[in-house]
């Protein structure tokens, strides 16, 4: 039994203590999974590190107790705490490949964990590690024992991590975003495994995540954290059915559920607190009888992977005979798991790389082989919003310079008219006028993505490619950005190619959906049709893996337990 009592954690700063976690209390029974949900900066990871006794040097516990079977872990000397780590409390982390030492074989890393805590021989430890690799259902456990982390997939590395976490039969397991870096089908398998092992091992699991779907699928009870405090705790089903606090209601409302209804945006935390909903602009629906804005026919792109000493490099078909069309004012969702070729396709459309064969028509004009110079006027028509708002803004430029850059490149207007246009754009994406003279680091992730969007709209494009545009954002921020994109689409008659691995987001925003697997489009169709009756087996597998929360329109056969 793990019991947290009135735990408060603060950061030491030059101005004194800055509270990060305030008065957290909860308990977890053996065999139970408690979901701890909250957005980035809410203090959930700090909480877990305090339980492990692994707080960073600049963080201190200012009050409270962490009781493991009645012993206060916070009062233990470091050596006693070290002996408990891995043996009685263990941890599973977010990025499984980075969480394993790249220079040691996976098997050896698990053996090491056993030998740290148990007086058995190396041979016995090896046998036990192998047995565990079978139990976490690693394909070819013997090979996995010998493999280095980079030779396994993310899902397989997470199985290695889970094996390592349960190898000494701990009483408490802390899983910090264990599936966030994984594809949705793999996420499903890992969560199922965690639940199943929990029943066998009987450990108390603290499951930390920002993803309400993961909580719904896995946790018995949920604690919601906001700005370092616990705002609500309930049984999982009750929380989703009757959220008590405005923050929780806002969070659940911010989850994209099903198709976007005309004029109705996602609830934001602020709107939930005020008891209102967010309206979005009504758009003119796309006209399928009109000629398409972008038409792609049989596009191919292969990469040669150097084969080393073996003569004849291996060829990977990243985009394999893809045909797609996007109509004006339409949102086409492109889904698929990592490595399926989504980003290669978007680069081909942007003409950032050359296709091997096939044809691309933009507004009826063949752009497949246009020279870079002939492409210039077309670059105004197609723009792009990238995934990482931190990496896609030059940190040394002000917002005014960043948003104005496309105007200067294309020689648009004079200085005064450019300045006025930039000011309008910035206001348009919901940033204050004062933002113009500031630098990217002064903004939050959501605000930065607004800057990126303002820049993408600077030249009045007709097609915007959003490549994982909201994937790096917190749920409530994601809702704001999705609402903004919907508003902008209605006002500027934009067409979106919306690329994402997140099926609920794609379902929410798209008119039509294309499902991509291993470079091929396996299925295309209206969003409703794809979600109601997927024809391709891959689409079905993908959809059934999406965590659904109870009481919501679960259109696929899968509902949460």
């Amino acid at each position: 039994m793990l019991k947290i009592e009135g735990l408060s954690i603060a950061f030491r700063t030059a101005e004194g203590l800055r509270p990060a976690v305030t008065d957290m209390s909860f308990e977890i029974a053996p065999g139970e999974i408690l979901g701890l949900v909250g957005e980035s900066g809410s203090g959930k990871t700090l909480m877990s590190l305090a339980v492990m006794g692994l707080l960073p040097p600049n963080a201190v516990v200012t009050a409270g107790r962490v009781l493991d079977q009645g012993t206060d872990l916070l009062g233990l000397p470091p050596e006693a705490l070290r002996r408990r780590r891995g043996a009685e409390i263990s941890m599973i982390f977010q990025d499984p490949i980075a969480s394993l030492d790249p220079l040691y074989r996976c098997g050896d890393q698990v053996i090491e964990a056993i030998l740290l805590h148990e007086p058995i021989g190396r041979r016995a430890a090896r046998a036990r590690a192998l047995e565990l690799f079978e139990r976490v259902r690693l394909p070819d456990p013997a090979r996995a024992m010998r493999a280095y982390p980079h030779e396994l997939s993310g899902g397989q590395c997470q199985r290695v991590m889970i094996a390592m976490a349960i190898v000494c039969r701990p009483r408490i397991i802390i899983a910090d975003e264990p599936t966030t870096a994984l594809d949705v089908t793999v996420q499903r398998q890992v969560l199922d495994l965690l639940r199943e092992l929990n029943r066998e091992v009987g450990a108390a699991i603290l499951l930390i995540t920002h993803d309400l779907g993961v909580i719904a699928q896995t946790a018995d009870r949920v604690a919601v954290m906001y700005q370092g405090r616990m705002v609500e705790e309930a049984r999982t089903a009750d929380l989703f059915a009757r959220p008590q606090q405005p923050y929780t209601r806002g969070l659940i409302g911010a989850m994209p559920q099903g198709r976007q209804a005309p004029g109705q945006g996602l609830t934001t935390v602020a709107a939930a607190a005020a008891g209102t909903t967010r309206a979005i602009a009504l758009r003119t629906p796309p006209d399928p009888s009109a000629p398409p804005l972008l038409e792609i026919r049989d596009l191919d792109k292969s990469y040669r992977v150097p084969g080393g000493l073996v003569p004849g490099a291996r060829t990977v078909r990243a985009v394999d005979g893809v045909s797609l069309s996007i109509w004006p004012r339409e949102t086409l969702g492109l889904v698929g798991e990592s490595g399926c070729g989504k980003t290669t396709l978007s680069r081909l459309i942007m003409r950032l790389s050359e296709p091997d064969s096939g044809q691309m028509l933009f507004a009826g004009r063949d752009i497949t082989h246009l020279s870079p110079k002939a492409m210039v006027p077309l670059r105004r028509e197609i723009s792009m919003v990238f995934q990482n708002p931190y990496g896609s803004l030059n940190p040394r430029q002000t917002v005014e310079e960043l948003v104005g850059a496309p105007l200067i490149i294309h020689g648009e207007g004079d200085a005064a008219s450019r300045q006025a246009r930039v000011a309008r754009l910035v206001e348009h994406v919901g940033l204050p006028r004062a933002a113009l003279s500031r630098y990217p680091h002064e903004f939050s992730g959501g605000q930065r993505q607004r800057i990126v969007i303002a820049r993408a709209l600077a030249l009045n494009p007709r097609l915007v490619i959003c490549d994982e545009a909201v994937s790096a954002l917190d749920l409530s921020v994601q809702a704001q950005v999705l609402n903004l994109l919907a508003d902008l689409q209605a006002e500027h008659d934009l067409a979106y190619l919306f690329i994402s691995h997140d099926l609920s987001v794609v379902e929410h925003v798209s008119d039509r959906i294309a499902v991509m697997q291993k470079g091929r489009i396996v299925e295309t169709g209206p969003a409703e049709a794809i979600f109601a009756a997927p024809r391709d087996p891959y689409t079905r597998a993908l959809l059934s893996a999406v965590p659904r929360i109870p009481g919501q329109s679960a259109r696929s056969e899968e509902t949460a337990r």
């Binding site: 692994l54 780590r85 891995g86 980075a98 969480s99 030492d101 790249p102 964990a113």
Partner: protein, 324 residues
């Protein structure tokens, strides 16, 4: 597959590249004779002495310079392959014998300097990383800045002043053959080796500190702590091994500087090595000697780089697999 067997193809391929590099260097060294201003024959005979055309033609023939360039080139390459670099113009002694005599002395100096650098640099870097942000860290880091910025000739003079003339612990300069007096041999090695190695020690210390701090922030270190491993074991078994990869890089890159540094250090300490021979040959316009010395130094550099790459592959399984 054992890591060593897995390396065989890598080694073979790299050896092939190294041979091509050596061929390129040999060609450049040969071309040097024709690209440099002045006719070597005239320089040898002395421009002021107004040599007779017969004397010029005789020397030209003796040096083989009257033959077509292609023949001279193939002759030179063939000689290099057999280890024959021609004869010194100064005393007709085979260049290869000079190199055989002086190269081991320079290699000994370089190896001793690397030892000094590693023995001082690694512990200083580790200590500074583990005490990050403390006074000890600032002191050690400042010391490394000093170590990198002090030129070899000033450092050497300073060391001679303190340890030879001031304290009288060590001889100021010179060389004693190992077979004659081993103790004296090593006593005379200390100051030049420290002079040559201290700059590299400072680079290694800085790289070790930076690399350790980078690795200590990695996710897998958190995993090791979470599985209950003690800090000492984490650092010696895991962090240092990952941190070693950039350290090996810096050592490999700096070895080029080290070879350059031997020119100054050998001169300063009267160390009769390859660099001393090269400097003297340049002064004498002894072209075969210059060619032989430069080719040897270049070959040493290429071999060191080859060794560094192989060490990478041993250290990092990701590089090993990628190369296969």
């Amino acid at each position: 597959m054992s890591p060593l067997i897995a390396l065989v193809p890598v080694v073979l391929r790299r050896l092939g590249t190294a041979l091509l590099q050596l061929l390129a260097v040999a060609t450049l060294v040969f071309a040097m004779l024709f690209l440099l201003p002045g006719d070597p024959v005239m320089i040898l005979l002395g421009q002021d002495s107004n040599p007779t055309p017969e004397a010029v033609a005789a020397l030209r023939e003796k040096l083989g310079l009257d033959r077509p360039i292609a023949v001279q080139y193939l002759d030179w390459l063939g000689g290099v392959l057999r280890g024959d670099f021609g004869r010194s113009l100064a005393n007709d002694y085979p260049v290869a014998q000079y190199i055989a005599q002086t190269l081991p002395r320079t290699l000994e100096l370089a190896v001793a300097a690397i030892l000094v650098a590693v023995v001082i640099g690694l512990p200083v870097g580790i200590a500074a990383a583990l005490r990050r942000g403390t006074l000890a860290d600032s002191l050690l880091t400042s010391a490394t800045t000093l170590g990198i910025s002090v030129p070899v000739y000033i450092l050497g003079a300073l060391l001679i002043l303190i340890f030879a003339q001031g304290l009288n612990w060590l001889p100021a300069s010179g060389y004693t053959d190992l077979s004659r007096n081993a103790l004296e041999h090593f006593r005379k090695l200390v100051l030049p080796a420290v002079t040559l190695g201290l700059g590299l020690a400072a680079s290694i210390a800085r790289m070790t500190r930076a690399s350790m701090l980078e690795i200590l922030g990695r996710d897998f270190v958190r995993t090791l702590r979470a599985k209950g491993m003690g800090e000492t074991q984490i650092i010696w078994q895991h962090v240092l091994r990952s941190a070693a990869i950039p350290i090996v890089t810096i050592v490999g890159l700096q070895l080029g500087n080290l070879l350059g540094g031997t020119v100054l250090v050998e001169a300063l300490f009267n160390w009769p090595g390859l660099a001393t021979m090269l400097v003297k040959a340049v002064g004498d316009r002894d072209y075969p000697m210059v060619q032989g010395a430069i080719l040897t130094i270049a070959a040493a550099f290429i071999l060191i780089n080859l060794a560094v790459e192989l060490i990478y592959s041993l250290l990092d399984p990701r590089i090993r697999r990628r190369r296969q």
